[in-house]
């Protein structure tokens, strides 16, 4: 009896969740199904002041959301800010992008075209040898740099053990609590993954299960492979061009990311 009840409730949960997902997808789909004539008509319902206000709200929403570097979903923007303005979503977002580029020097990038996930990146090239830094800096970026470089230098995919071994050599034991990073394993496999700097997944057909790391979608957009290679070369006191394969990839991806 109770088992059956459990089973039905579980299936209900599942259907509920599914319907919720469907709803979200519906909401998401709403954005793409809007025709230009619909948008035109909706446009007449709002004054330009109202639209300006909405644009400012979206900008603020994205700026705040970006503080934790967790990617922003289009569904969330729609649900929390756009609301009734969804018929003119495209126009609002265009103006949001323009504001970010012209006022903030930032760029709003859609990293996942299927699920519509956005991140903010800096449009301005960082200046080398910048002596006075405007912000206090975050030691986690050092940790992230190490992992990203090892992945990149090793051809794009590495087993997690290589990451842990390298970190151990840098006096970071993933099993121990670190003064600056806390739970290192959690930072690497959860925080960086949620921020889309890293991808962490099971390697198929492994027994016991093994995990591997790759660059996440954010890293692809935000990190300059060429600059990373230059720094690695500096550390090794070597010409980065000696790593022929990596150098080739870095120089091609550099141009492609700039054009996007």
């Amino acid at each position: 009896m109770s088992q059956r009840k459990k089973a039905t409730s579980a299936s209900q949960n599942k259907t509920q969740r599914r319907s919720q997902l469907l709803l979200e997808e519906d909401e998401d789909a709403n954005f793409s199904q809007i025709t230009s004539s619909q948008a035109q008509r909706a446009r007449e319902n709002f004054t330009s002041d109202q639209i300006d206000h909405k644009v400012a709200e979206v900008v603020q929403f994205i700026l705040i959301k970006d503080q934790k570097k967790i990617p922003i979903r289009r569904a969330d923007i729609g649900k929390h800010v756009i609301k009734d303005y969804k018929h003119i979503y495209a126009e609002v977002m265009n103006r949001v992008c323009r504001t970010f580029e012209q006022v903030f020097g930032l760029k709003l990038v859609e990293i996942d075209l299927k699920q519509h996930i956005y991140i903010l990146i800096n449009k301005l090239e960082p200046i080398r040898g910048q002596t006075v830094s405007m912000h206090p800096g975050n030691p986690k970026m050092g940790l992230l740099f190490v992992i990203l470089s090892v992945i990149f230098m090793k051809g794009g995919t590495i087993k997690e053990n290589l990451v842990w071994n390298t970190l151990k050599k840098l006096r970071l034991d993933p099993g121990e609590k670190h003064d600056e990073f806390g739970d290192v394993k959690k930072v690497v496999t959860e925080e960086f993954v949620r921020q889309k700097y890293l991808e962490y997944g099971k390697i198929p057909h492994t027994e016991p299960v093994e995990y591997e790391f790759r660059w996440g979608l954010r890293a692809e957009k935000e990190v300059s492979k060429l600059k990373l290679l230059e720094f690695v070369g500096e550390l090794f006191d070597q010409d980065p061009q000696n790593w022929t394969q990596q150098f080739r990839e870095a120089s091609t991806s550099g141009t492609s990311s700039q054009s996007t």
């Binding site: 960082p126 080398r128 050092g142 230098m153 053990n161 720094f231 000696n242 394969q245």
Partner: protein, 346 residues
């Protein structure tokens, strides 16, 4: 060389492992003579006594596990193009396999084979890489130098023994230098000086605060109790004195008129005050400050004059118990026609 030999044997081995019950023919490369094996093939289980020897099988399995462990532990070393450990392991496994008769051992052999192929694949990928290869250990060493590792203790060279420590801002230094590889949108920060958001003040203080009052409470408790008793006693004494005052005043007013005990103690408005009066009255009598006498069967009271007090309590003392109930209280009020309390309520 040994790699290719191994692989071909591995291919044969797998079907052999899965169809264990069918017979010995599928089993590859047996060291024992073939004729013997054919005989046993017709047996009920297809396994000879000698093949089923548990201790021997255990020994084989344990050796396999050791080998697998060794490969897993020394993975990075084995990947190094400059050594031949992988070949050694495969040769060792080949020797072990000669004695494998049953699926369980064969499964371990297969597991080792998976590991070995995996390593082989990675080794091969190293060969294909163009240009310089990238050595993560060397990378880590360079990073440590960049982060100003304090090499205090001399490192004995082994990887497990990590000597020295990183100075405080080491990771921040690396982060600052690595920053120019990132095109990160800056996060909010405080404009005037830094205000580092720190975790809330240590919990210790809260604990101390909690502990201190509890200790004080304990200290206060006994004194409080003492005071209460004292004040209670004092209240009784005061009340007794007040009643004595009343009695003496009535007596002075008219010393001829005897004071009826019941008229004196009964408060027609309150039974409880009546009981209290009786209680307090008993103190006066006990202490010899008032006396009680019977006239016509009714009790009367009078204060005892100063000179009358006989030291040593020479007077004959009597004890009696007065009981009163609400009912008798009302009866007395009616019988004596008491309208007003002689002892005013305090």
């Amino acid at each position: 060389m040994s790699d290719s030999r191994r692989r071909s044997r591995g291919n044969q081995e797998e079907p052999g492992g899965s169809t264990n019950g069918v017979g010995g023919q599928n089993r590859p490369e047996r060291s024992g003579d073939v004729g013997d094996e054919d005989d046993i093939g017709g047996g009920p289980s297809g396994i000879s006594q000698e093949d089923d020897d548990p201790s021997r099988r255990r020994e084989i399995r344990s050796k396999y596990r050791d080998l697998i462990n060794e490969v897993q532990q020394n993975r990075e070393d084995m990947l190094n193009p400059a050594n031949n450990k992988l070949t050694d392991v495969l040769e060792e496994a080949n020797k072990l396999f000669a004695n494998v008769r049953q699926a369980r051992e064969a499964a371990l052999d297969a597991q080792l084979l998976v590991l070995a192929t995996d390593l082989g694949k990675e080794k091969a990928s190293q060969l294909h890489a163009e240009g310089s290869s990238f050595d993560p250990s060397a990378f880590a060493e360079h990073l440590l130098s960049f982060m100003d590792l304090n090499r205090l203790e001399d490192e004995s060279g082994t990887d497990g023994n990590l000597g020295g420590y990183l100075p405080g801002g080491a990771w921040l230094k690396l982060a600052k230098r690595a920053e120019n590889c990132f095109r990160t949108a800056p996060a909010f920060h405080y404009m005037l000086g830094s205000f580092l958001a720190e975790p809330p003040p240590p919990r210790q203080r809260v604990e101390r605060q909690r502990r201190v009052p509890s200790r004080e409470e304990k200290r206060i408790m006994p004194t409080q109790l003492k005071k209460m008793e004292e004040s209670h006693q004092e209240a009784t004494e005061k009340e007794v004195e007040r009643i004595l005052g009343c009695l003496q005043r009535y007596f002075k007013d008219d010393s001829e008129e005897p004071i009826s005990y019941y008229e004196f103690v009964i408060d027609p408005n309150s039974f409880s005050r009546t009981v209290e009066n009786i209680f307090h009255m008993s103190f006066l009598i006990r202490d010899g400050l008032a006396r009680m006498y019977l006239e016509n069967g009714l009790p009367y009271i009078a204060p005892v004059e100063e000179g009358e007090i006989q030291p040593g309590g020479a007077a004959i003392r009597h004890q009696c118990v007065i009981s009163i109930s609400q009912e008798s209280w009302r009866e007395i009020i009616d019988a004596f026609d008491i309208k007003q309390a002689l002892i005013p309520p305090p």
